[in-house]
Every structure is written in structure tokens, then in C-alpha cells.
Amino acid sequence: MTEEPCWHPDLLRRFVPTPYVFSKGVGPSRLIVESNDLEIALSVRRAGIVYRNRNRPGRLLCKLIRDVAGPVDGSGITIVSDGAIRVLYLGRGTILIHDHERSELFGFIARNVKVEELTSSLIPALLNAWANTKSTQLLLQRSDKGHIAC
């Protein structure tokens, strides 16, 4: 048997390169967006998410993958919440995960989901899901300037 190069499968699509990286804000209220899709990266950056954790401005790291290989099905939203993790499903192909302890928002966006829907509907729905928790206060609203404050 000849030695073969080590091959790792990436069935979960964890290692999709995300060359589009933008950041907004300074200090603790910083938003960092990474994506494999320029439109997603720019739109999330422009959405003006102001993240607050425990009533204080917080840094939020977003990593969003445009998933062209995933299923395109269903329009119903399901949110599953357990402890620090909250997951939003739109059909089966769009999956957004928010870890509020680590201040991270990441996931996969199905190819049929428009960025407007992502920034104006899905991300707010996921972040708003924390509104009633004791440890995190997230008030999500669209400002006149089209910014989301959460």
C-alpha cells in the first residue's frame, strides 16, 4: 500500500472559504461579517445590526454561507431554542444559529432566499427570540435609516 495524502471529507460544508469579510463599528459594538457571498456580506453589514448582550453593546461575529448545494423547500420558519443556542430553520435549507454566550451568529442560506429576507426578516426573528430571556435583552426594530437595532 502506498501512502496516500490525508483526505478529510467536508460533508457538513464547514470549510467553505469566506473571502468577503467586513467589519463595522468600533470597540465593544463591533460587527464582523464573513461570507462566501459578497451580496450577503454587504447587506448584513449595511443592515446596521447593533448587538446588545446583558444590556450592553456587544460584539457580534457573523459567518453566513450561501449554500447552493442545500435543499430548497418550505417557507415555514421553525426556531429551536436550548440554553445558549437558538437555531432558525426556513424549510430545511436555510439554517441560522445564534450562540448568545459566544456572541456568534452563523449559518447557511439556501439559494432561493433573498438577502432582503435574510436581513429584514430571518436575522431579526432569530435575535428577537431572545427578547424574553433574563440574561439577554435584544430589542429588534427597524430604524428610519433602515438599520436594525437589537
Binding site: 471529507p9 421553525t78 444559529i97
Partner: protein, 326 residues
């Protein structure tokens, strides 16, 4: 919008279970699921440190069975869905599986045995130093033998033949390896042995069983090896050797040594790469893989029946054991 909040205070059924050496703290609202998982639990003296939590909400309003699987993962979270009603979220950092499933899936013991438990061990095992290796494992007088090979190489038929030839059976397809001090421990699950239709030519006892459509769509015999063949089943053992199986058309059997680099490459190829956010899991896994790669390893090329291969392998193992004792 459907909002499912998994609140432990609503999950009245609580159990301590064990799968392939990994302790599982189960909480669910379904007594049916709790009983089903209890039947699949295999306690062993060699449990890996830490264990994991499993929180499962059974949605009484849904009766959708297991649908098409869809997996994705980023950073420390992996998600799996089997249709709209059955969603699983694996948090590797917190070693937690959170799930919402239908009543149909909660009742489907085969799904949990053949899919969900192996998937959970594969995903969360990384945080517990438990490495899934695509190999069979058999044991003879306390010494474990790992039998690796690509799908179709004959691991399952050889496992059955070896079980009939005096070996104790641990697993036939996926084995979960953990470290215990300087040793490694191989764990099996309660998954049935899967034999392709032509296996009936070698094992007459299969004639009393019927072919079933397995979870991956193949027609196969899926049998409990203890019930079907009277095999003795061990839940865990200490592996001493690693054998790579290759079938040839030519009759005969040849053993040739392999390097630890080849063994390492094979084991690495059967595991998912972990993200950099999980440095401890990466380090634990590397140490375990290194220990597996350091096992004395051979390539075993054979042509002939599984019984012939089992006889050759048995003689080889007995000879190796004598060498160790000398």
C-alpha cells in the same frame, strides 16, 4: 412561525445511559423514547470522561417519519434534519444534543439505533476523545483486532466468520476508539450486523432471516449477531493489531506489514475535519488517532470464503500473541 423551547423542567423522563463508552444524560418528555433508548444503552466499565447531554422534545402534534437527511455544520454547532419535524442540534463545545422530533420518530427504534446514536457519537465524540473509525473489531482472549477496509471489502462477513471461529464480536462496521492512560479502548454499539444478500451462500443460518431495505437503501440482512449466530458479544476491548482487508480473485492469503503513516491516513480519512474553534477536541482526537496508528498493522489480502479468511486470520493472531508473550 413555530417556536420550540427546550426547557429541562418540562422533560420529566431522565436517565443515565451509555453508548459506546460515552455516558449520556438523557431528558425527554416521552416515556416511549426513554424506554427505547434505554434498550439501546450498553454500560461498560470503560466509559470516556465527560459524557454528553441529550435533550429531546417529542412534538405530540407531529407524526412525520424520518425524512431525507440534511446535515450542515459551522464552528462548534452541527445540525441534522430528517424532514421538517425532526431536527437535531449538536453543540460540540457544550457536549449537548438538543432535538425536536415527531412521535413517529420517537417510536422508530431502528432510526435511533442505526442512525442517530452513531451520528451523535461521530459528532459529539470529538469533544470526549472518542474517535469513530471505519473498521470492525473482534476480540480473542482479551486482545482486540481492528479490521479496516473500504466498503465492500468484506468486514462484516469476516466478522461473522471470526465470531463463529471463537472470536468475541465488538463491532462490524464502525468502532469508537477512546484513550485510557497509555492504552486505547475500542467500543461497539448495539447496531445490528449488516450482511449483503450473497452472504447467505456462506452462512446457512441466514436462510431463516429475510432481506430488509437498510437505511441507505441497500437490500441486506440486518441481524443481531448474538441471536442469529450465537456469537459472544463484547462491549469494549483493547485493540492490539490493525489489519487492512483486501479481497482478491486469487485464492490464498498474504500478510504484509503497513506503516503507521498509512494507518494514520486511513483513520484520518474516516473522520470529519474539526474547525479551529475546537482546539481541545482536535488535540484529543489527534492523540487517539496517533495511538491507533502506532498499533502493529498489516495488510491482509485474501481470496476465498470468509471462513477461509477467518481461519488464516485466527492463526495469524495466535502466532502474534505467542510472539508478544515470548
Amino acid at each position: 412561525m413555530l417556536f420550540l423551547s427546550i426547557d429541562e423542567t418540562d422533560l420529566h423522563y431522565s436517565m443515565d445511559l451509555c453508548f459506546a463508552g460515552a455516558g449520556c444524560d438523557l431528558r425527554t418528555n416521552s416515556s416511549c423514547l426513554a424506554r427505547g433508548l434505554e434498550r439501546l444503552s450498553l454500560s461498560t466499565g470503560d466509559t470516556v470522561p465527560g459524557g454528553f447531554k441529550m435533550r429531546v422534545v417529542v412534538d405530540e402534534s407531529s407524526d412525520e417519519g424520518a425524512g431525507e437527511p440534511h446535515f450542515r455544520g459551522l464552528r462548534h454547532v452541527v445540525t441534522a434534519s430528517f424532514g421538517r419535524s425532526n431536527v437535531f442540534v449538536f453543540d460540540i463545545l457544550r457536549r449537548t444534543l438538543s432535538a425536536s422530533v415527531s412521535t413517529a420518530l420517537a417510536r422508530d427504534e431502528r432510526f435511533w439505533k442505526e442512525k442517530l446514536i452513531p451520528i451523535t457519537l461521530g459528532v459529539l465524540g470529538a469533544a470526549m476523545g472518542l474517535v469513530p473509525v471505519h473498521c470492525a473489531c473482534l476480540e480473542l482472549d482479551g486482545d482486540g483486532l481492528l479490521i479496516a477496509g473500504v466498503s465492500g471489502a468484506g468486514k462484516s462477513t469476516l466478522s461473522v466468520a471470526l465470531s463463529e471461529d471463537g472470536f468475541n464480536y465488538v463491532s462490524d462496521d464502525w468502532t469508537y476508539i477512546s484513550r485510557r492512560r497509555n492504552e486505547i479502548v475500542a467500543h461497539g454499539t448495539s447496531a445490528p450486523v449488516k450482511l449483503l444478500p450473497d452472504a447467505v451462500e456462506h452462512f446457512r443460518r441466514l436462510q431463516g432471516h429475510s432481506l430488509q431495505r437498510s437505511m441507505n437503501g441497500e437490500l441486506a440482512y440486518e441481524v443481531d449477531i448474538a441471536e442469529a449466530f450465537g456469537a459472544r458479544v463484547e462491549r469494549a476491548c483493547e485493540p492490539r493489531w490493525l489489519v487492512f482487508l483486501e479481497r482478491t480473485q486469487e485464492a490464498g492469503a498474504v500478510f504484509a506489514p503497513i506503516s503507521s503513516a498509512e494507518a494514520r491516513s486511513y483513520v484520518n480519512s474516516s473522520v470529519e475535519r474539526l474547525p479551529l474553534q475546537l482546539p481541545e477536541a482536535i488535540a484529543m482526537r489527534e492523540q487517539t488517532i496517533e495511538r491507533v496508528a502506532m498499533l502493529p498493522g498489516w495488510r491482509f489480502r485474501y481470496g476465498g470464503t470468509p471462513q477461509f479468511a477467518a481461519k488464516e486470520l485466527r492463526e495469524f493472531v495466535v502466532h502474534r500473541r505467542q510472539e508478544i508473550y515470548v
